[in-house]
């Protein structure tokens, strides 16, 4: 019995280690990047279901960009531009032509998956020429516990921290944030006060596309450093769930994405340790958890009356309401 106990102990310490938390941050980063962008789009009143498609395009374009230019930042830039360009299609359809946002976003997701497997074939199995690697800070990285968790990540993880802080500050503490929230809650009133509702929405959706593109490039340049078909594996959809789970607040969504990061890396670790639960069943965890998280939050959100922005999914029609 003693031997069994020791073996269990060993497995547990292997799983619940600083490495778990460190990799949770790494795995949570693409989620939070995409989620912050989607929060802005939804706060302005536009639901963008194209995140999955923009992420997968970002992943491929980032990878190709790096292999052509050799500069990882060029990869990020190109991925951001492509994600942004796709989001403008969505913005045009949902804002200007007042079309169905659900279908338009879904179509862009299919488009992203189709176009990347059409173009991406010849990049499969190659290693990225350059990418984002964990940094080493003399002194700090060697600290126990916080060293591997906080001071040995790649630059994009720190960028994500920064973006969460700034985007949250802008959204809740500045005039720009006030305008965005007003456009999403009551566009008629915002219009009367001189806000350009259409422009605000365009910019928010565009920002969402940029962030989704970067999130995708993170996967192919910092996480795996190679291109794999369908490599986003539903992360774009989970990001949309995280928007709801975080009640349209970047900070709460950040906590949610870390939680998903923990589950993801926990699941990977269980696989590595070989605890006897089949691989495919472990892989279900993030998806099952998404459903559970949404189910739990929807009841509490209702109780607290914190819901979606009032004008979400409603196209704004200027001057027809008098």
């Amino acid at each position: 019995m003693k031997e069994v106990d020791e073996a269990v102990q060993e497995i547990l310490t292997e799983i619940f280690s600083t490495a778990l938390v460190a990799s949770a941050l790494r795995l949570g980063t693409p989620l939070i990047l995409a989620t912050v962008g989607e929060i802005y789009a939804q706060r302005s009143g536009v639901l963008n279901l194209g995140v999955e498609g923009m992420m997968i395009v970002g992943a491929l374009v980032g990878f190709i960009g790096v292999n052509i230019t050799g500069n990882p930042w060029m990869g990020i830039l190109l991925a951001a531009l492509c994600g942004g360009a796709m989001s403008l299609i969505h913005a045009f359809l949902s804002i200007t032509t007042r079309s169905d946002q659900v279908i338009s976003g879904f179509a862009l997701s299919i488009f992203g998956i189709g176009v990347t497997s059409y173009i991406g074939k010849k990049w499969i199995g190659m290693a990225a020429e350059a990418g984002f690697y964990p940094i080493y800070i003399r002194g700090l990285s060697d600290l126990p516990i916080v060293g591997p968790i906080l001071f040995s990540q790649n630059v994009l993880v720190y960028l994500a921290f920064f973006i969460v802080a700034v985007s949250s500050w802008i959204l809740f503490k500045t005039r720009i944030g006030l305008i965005i929230r007003a456009v999403g809650e009551n566009p008629e009133a915002a219009d009367i006060l001189g806000v350009n509702v259409y422009l605000t929405r365009y910019l928010c959706v565009f920002f969402g596309g940029i962030m989704a593109g970067i999130a995708g490039a993170y996967l192919s340049l910092a996480y795996t450093r190679q291109w794999v078909e369908l490599m986003t594996a539903g992360r774009g959809w989970i990001a949309i769930a995280l928007v709801i789970f975080g009640m349209w607040n970047p900070v709460w969504s950040f906590a949610g994405s870390l939680f998903f990061g923990v589950i993801d890396s926990f699941q990977l670790r269980l696989q590595a340790v070989g605890i006897g639960i089949p691989y495919n069943l472990l892989m279900m965890m993030p998806y099952v958890l998404t459903i559970l998280a949404l189910s739990s939050i929807s009841t509490t959100a209702l109780a607290k009356k914190i819901g979606a922005p009032t004008a979400l999914l409603t196209p704004y029609v200027r001057g027809e309401k008098t």
Binding site: T97, V102, F106, L108, I110, G114, A241, Y287, T299
Partner: protein, 353 residues
């Protein structure tokens, strides 16, 4: 300075002719935009589309394959259309198809000693129940807890495919391959005309008629349409949202489940990865291009069935990846969405400040 301003006037009742015109031009324009991808791949688009069209409709073999591929699309597409009719965005047909296939395959193994006359209806029922159960979960979550069904149905796709993969590399693994053992003769749907054509197409056509009758002639169908048109008005009229949406999503998922059963029982004779090359997702496009109407779904499923067959031929002939179909699908969707705008509004420009 004078500049042009967009002027939109709502059309009171757009004509059927206009709707058909917009749908047809969406498809044509999508093919035209798809040609851009062919050109960048260094292929003459006229030649490629020629191969595609001839591959799908130019021979007896092609026509049969088109119907074979249209069958699961029609079944799942009818299901998606029904759910969309009551404003339930079921994009989980892929998972529902796999769960239907799983349940039907289980029945084929568990009751392999039964006669075909009993076993096949039983497999059909289980296929329906497997998919229906998978559709019911997001339905209940939506109605009871207001959980967004778009996310849950998608997550359920991933879970279903992982579940089936688990069975194929675990309990059902056969001779070291990730596919299940072959089902018995009694569990196979009859083929027609000595070809791959099978009676599943009749299931799909009968389903189309039944869905049409249900929508137009029954109380449930009426309530589904009211809930879809205006959920607040439906509540006000005393319609139970639960009793409307839940049966609708069970039937919706069930039809996708039958699509899965048909693929197992008439095509592959086993459950395997790639049982569906994204039929469940294409079904969404099928339903929307068919304007959520059973007749429209029949027509658009044959179109997309042909596109899949033709793209296969095109891949073999000129090396164009089949993923071109996904691109065309998404373009069709985007153009339909944009076309709705032209259906709803009369667009003109006027000079204004």
């Amino acid at each position: 300075m004078q500049r042009l301003r967009l002027r939109l006037v709502e059309r009171p009742s757009p004509s059927l002719y206009l709707k058909l015109l917009i749908s047809a031009s969406s498809v044509l324009l999508a093919l035209l935009l798809g040609a851009v991808f062919l050109v960048t791949s260094g292929v003459n688009p006229l030649m490629a589309y020629g191969k595609l069209f001839l591959g799908a409709f130019g021979s007896r073999f092609g026509l049969i394959e088109t119907v074979v591929k249209a069958t699961p699309l029609m079944l799942a597409g009818l299901g998606v259309a029904l759910a969309f009719r009551c404003s339930f965005f079921n994009i989980g047909a892929e998972g529902q198809l796999y769960m239907g296939a799983f349940a039907a395959t289980w029945a084929a193994y568990a009751f392999s000693e039964l006669d075909a006359a009993f076993l096949l209806p039983f497999m059909l029922l289980l296929g329906f129940l497997g998919g229906g159960f998978w559709g019911m979960i997001p339905g209940v979550l939506k109605v009871k807890l207001r959980v967004n069904e778009i996310i849950t149905t998608l997550m359920m796709n991933y879970i279903a495919i992982l579940w089936v993969t688990h069975m194929l590399v675990g309990p059902w693994m056969y001779e070291g391959f990730p596919w299940s053992p072959i089902i018995t003769e009694a569990a196979r749907l009859p083929n027609l005309a000595g070809s791959r054509l099978h009676v599943g197409i009749f299931f799909a056509l009968i389903a189309a008629v039944l869905i049409y009758l249900m929508l137009m002639k029954t109380r449930l169908g009426y309530e589904i349409r009211v809930v879809g048109a205006n959920i607040k008005a439906a509540r006000y009229a005393g319609i139970s949202i639960f009793k409307t949406i839940i049966p609708a999503v069970i039937i919706s998922g069930g039809l996708a489940g039958i699509a899965g059963m048909v693929q197992v029982s008439a095509i592959h004779y086993r459950i395997m990865p790639g049982l569906s090359p994204g039929y469940g997702y294409t079904a969404v496009v099928v339903a929307l291009l068919g304007k959520l109407h059973p007749i429209g779904v029949i027509a658009s499923s044959i179109f997309f069935g042909g596109l899949l067959v033709g793209a296969d031929m095109m891949q073999r002939a000129v090396g164009i990846p089949v993923a071109l179909v996904n691109i065309i699908e998404s373009l069709v969707l985007l153009l339909i969405v944009a076309g709705e705008f032209l259906i709803r509004y009369r667009v003109s420009f006027e000079r204004g400040g």
